[in-house]
Symmetry: C2
Subunit: 178 residues, 2 copies
């Protein structure tokens, strides 16, 4: 899949709709991936993203120590892999290999991109002040990639307990909002 560079100024348009994401990290060359749906945009440019990760997650300590991750946005085609990543721990399993996900080298961080996701956001931790209390990290997106062939991504939006709303039709209203 040939990904294209995506403008940082438009990253908000990928995350604002609220898709489930796969967050990748890497520790000593070993990549891990977890499923996450608790995240929000915090600033347009440079793009800041706030995300919540339980300290019970294997990724929590890796993110805290390496200060790097990639936010990958999957679509319904790989829904089963997204759920599988959310139901297993990287402490026990190499999820990339077990679930057939392809780690692709990133340009700015050591954590890999997930090849099967239509968009990938390379991030560094910008602020971990609320990490101890809420598992809350402020991430800065350093580099963004997109599959230019996917115009209407059928993203997944978690309603809880394995129930996902799939992105439906798009409407456009006259607006001065960014």
């Amino acid at each position: 899949m040939a990904k294209k560079s995506f403008p940082l100024s438009k990253v908000y348009s990928l995350l604002e709709p609220g898709p489930v994401v796969l967050v990748t990290t890497a520790l000593k060359g070993r990549p891990n991936v977890m499923t996450m749906s608790w995240l929000t945009m915090m600033e347009f440019e440079p793009p800041l993203v706030g995300c919540v990760m339980s300290d019970l997650n294997y990724s929590f300590d890796i993110l805290k120590s390496t200060k790097e991750c990639v936010i990958n946005i999957p679509t319904v085609e790989i829904a089963a892999k997204v759920v599988a990543c959310g139901n297993s721990s990287g402490r026990k399993v190499d999820k990339f290999s077990k679930f057939g996900l392809t780690p692709v080298a990133a340009s700015r961080v050591k954590a890999p991109l997930v090849g099967e996701c239509y968009a990938n956001l390379e991030c560094k931790v910008a602020d971990a002040k609320l990490a101890a209390k809420y598992g809350f990290f402020v991430l800065e997106v350093l580099k963004a990639w997109i599959d230019p062939l996917i115009k209407h991504p059928r993203t997944l939006h978690h309603r809880g307990r394995g129930e996902f709303m799939i992105a439906g039709e798009t409407i456009k209203l006259p607006s001065r909002m960014k």
Copy 2:
């Protein structure tokens, strides 16, 4: 519209999919409403919600001083009103009256519920440590309401510049995730 009380333990299932919301506040009996799409769940129960509000917004100072608001979840039927609320300021306009929204008395806070929204979450500010730097507030949901007749809410998900994805079909996969 007869709203029913909704369990606090299930509030995450309303916000996790990432809908645009209307946030209401009240100052000295005068209600205001703004459109927001930068928010995330932070804890299941009691439900904590992180949200980002620019300090340029009229609602910012009201939320900071009153420490109360309501998160209202609209559906596509009132998309034009949602955009109108995002394109005007409560400093100049009574948006409830101008855009035909119905303020309904809340039970735990002074800010009103928006009658036209299918769900309403009464909130207090639990943590404003990151408000100065990022406009970030941690809210605790005190009481939740839902329209029991709406089983498949066609929520709005902002892609930027007035473009909204509308909630599509739902799929269910076997999962141990909450």
